[in-house]
């Protein structure tokens, strides 16, 4: 943990060397997700509700999903850019060091420029909370914390899968974006609006609904109490991801010179 703090400081210092570039990438992150927000805003100028969710409830949902995603992206970004580590043979270096390789990949990148996105997520989140008229209690606050934690874990899991596939293909695969960027993009609306099939898929195959739709229902007072604990169940998703990673490491053949 202390070592991770040290890595964190190094990344922070190196970013601060290029302040304007940092600001611009923050702004870029902000604008990209701001466009999505505009899309939601204008859709709700026309329609008052969708599948029983109102504007502020959708914003709350988008805010939480965005926050989950940007947390995962800020800390697990090393896995997202893992294809370059493999294709340049840098993974050899990681393997010979006397530390856990997952830890090293995790610490190899800490994206602070995701702050632009996070900031917006927080604003949407706060707005959504205030407008949606949720009666706050301690269990509900705890449910939000669980959602953020579980969500960050699930998205990290996908980054790990993405990285593990790189062991076999050397290159990153674009279609994996469906599970990361796609989930962020379409997580703006509660999963059930996409229909029953998608909801089933997102419950039993990939655990998106467990970190978004079900706990949201609980927050809004429409779901059963145990829905609040589903994000913890979603964390189990990390187990197969890490298994795939282990298989990948065993399969690893150096590509560097």
């Amino acid at each position: 943990m202390k070592l991770y703090g040290k890595y964190f400081m190094i990344h922070l210092k190196s970013i601060m060397e290029y302040k304007t570039s940092f600001l611009f990438s923050c702004m870029g992150q902000f604008l990209v997700s701001f466009n999505v927000f505009l899309g939601i805003y204008f859709m709700f100028r026309r329609f008052s509700h969708v599948e029983g969710f109102t504007y502020s409830e959708v914003l709350l949902c988008y805010g939480i999903t965005l926050l989950e995603f940007s947390l995962a992206e800020a800390f697990a970004r090393g896995f997202d850019t893992f294809s370059s580590i493999v294709s340049q043979g840098e993974f050899d270096r990681i393997l010979v060091r006397p530390r856990n390789e997952i830890f090293q990949v995790l610490a190899s990148r800490i994206e602070l420029s995701r702050m632009g996105r996070m900031l917006q997520a927080v604003v949407l989140f706060v707005y959504g909370i205030r407008k949606s008229g949720i009666h706050w209690t301690y269990p509900k606050a705890a449910a939000v914390v669980l959602m953020l934690f579980g969500g960050a874990m699930v998205f990290s899991g996908f980054f790990v899968i993405y990285a593990s596939i790189c062991f076999f293909t050397i290159e990153g695969l674009e279609f994996m974006n469906i599970f990361t960027d796609g989930a962020r993009e379409y997580g703006k609306y509660p999963v059930n609006i996409y229909g029953k099939r998608v909801l089933q898929l997102c419950t039993f195959v990939v655990p998106y609904a467990l970190i978004q739709y079900y706990p949201l229902l609980y927050l809004l007072g429409r779901g059963k109490p145990y829905y609040a604990l589903l994000p913890l169940a979603a964390c189990l998703f990390l187990i197969p991801c890490l298994m795939l990673w282990k298989i990948g490491v065993r399969h690893y053949v150096s590509a560097g010179s």
Partner: protein
């Protein structure tokens, strides 16, 4: 003219080489299209009366948008061009007896068309076999199809000539990162990339439709489904021609200005 055609051909066949990337891209685009349509379906169910286009036309819009994504997307700028300005390779290009603007223009158009050619067919085919109203409908009529093609060419021209402006400003600012980020996100929303323009409130929509951004993907995709017809369509088409000329004119002016004061970077 002949040499620019050669640039076009060269870049075109280069673009056709990336087949694996195209395959992965197609899967992504098909998924994207499906989710988008499911989303519109949910809103349609919530209140069909408030829907500004028919559901069929909306689905056609989404599928065509996904199929021809690489033709119109503003974020698909040519990284090589920025690199050559920043690292000084531009000097080689300047030695050639060609006009920089025309060369880059033909290259960008070629890159876009080759990518779109590779990607569009499977997405379109899959979309056609999907059941109505979720699939891609047949074009409104023969004339609409012909005008769709024409307007698509114009739209791609407007998109490229807009990107050219960004390349040209890079001569003056060197680092174009900021401008590029802001511009691409603006274009994305203003051109109807996030939600089709008819979904916007009327007042805002009228303003947006007059801007050059609406002349990119908005016009062709709406002509296809018959959402844009008659006088309105003629107006949109002439606006496309108008903006294409204006953007090229500004680009050429910037080009002339840049060539006068150019400093070559790098050593």
């Amino acid at each position: 003219m002949k040499k620019y055609l050669a640039f076009f051909r060269l870049r075109f066949s280069m673009g056709l080489q990336y087949r694996a990337a195209a395959l992965a891209g197609m899967a992504t685009q098909f998924f994207w299209g499906t989710m988008e349509i499911l989303m519109f379906r949910a809103f349609y169910r919530a209140d069909p009366a408030a829907f500004p286009m028919t559901l069929e036309a909306t689905c056609a819009y989404v599928w065509l948008q996904q199929a021809f994504l690489t033709l119109f997307a503003a974020w698909l700028m040519e990284g090589e061009i920025f690199d050559s300005i920043i690292n000084g390779n531009i000097a080689y290009e300047l030695c050639r007896p060609v006009n920089i603007y025309n060369m880059w223009f033909s290259r960008s158009i070629a890159a876009r068309f080759s990518r779109a050619m590779l990607r569009c067919m499977p997405v379109l085919l899959l979309a056609v076999v999907l059941p109505a109203p979720y699939g891609l409908m047949a074009p409104a009529d023969g004339a609409a199809f012909f005008l769709f093609i024409l307007s698509m060419l114009l739209g791609a021209g407007v998109a490229v000539s807009f990107c050219m402006l960004v390349y040209m400003t890079c001569f003056f600012t060197i680092s174009s990162m900021g401008l590029r980020i802001v511009m691409t996100s603006l274009v994305e929303f203003f051109s109807g990339g996030i939600i089709p323009l008819p979904f916007l409130p009327d007042g805002i929509r009228k303003v947006f439709e007059a801007l050059p951004f609406a002349s990119m993907q908005n016009v062709p995709l709406r002509i296809y489904s018959g959402n844009l017809q008659g006088d309105e369509m003629l107006k949109a088409l002439s606006l496309q021609v108008f903006w294409l000329c204006i953007l090229i004119l500004i680009g050429k002016l910037l080009d002339a200005l840049a060539m006068k004061k150019i400093t070559v970077q790098g050593g």
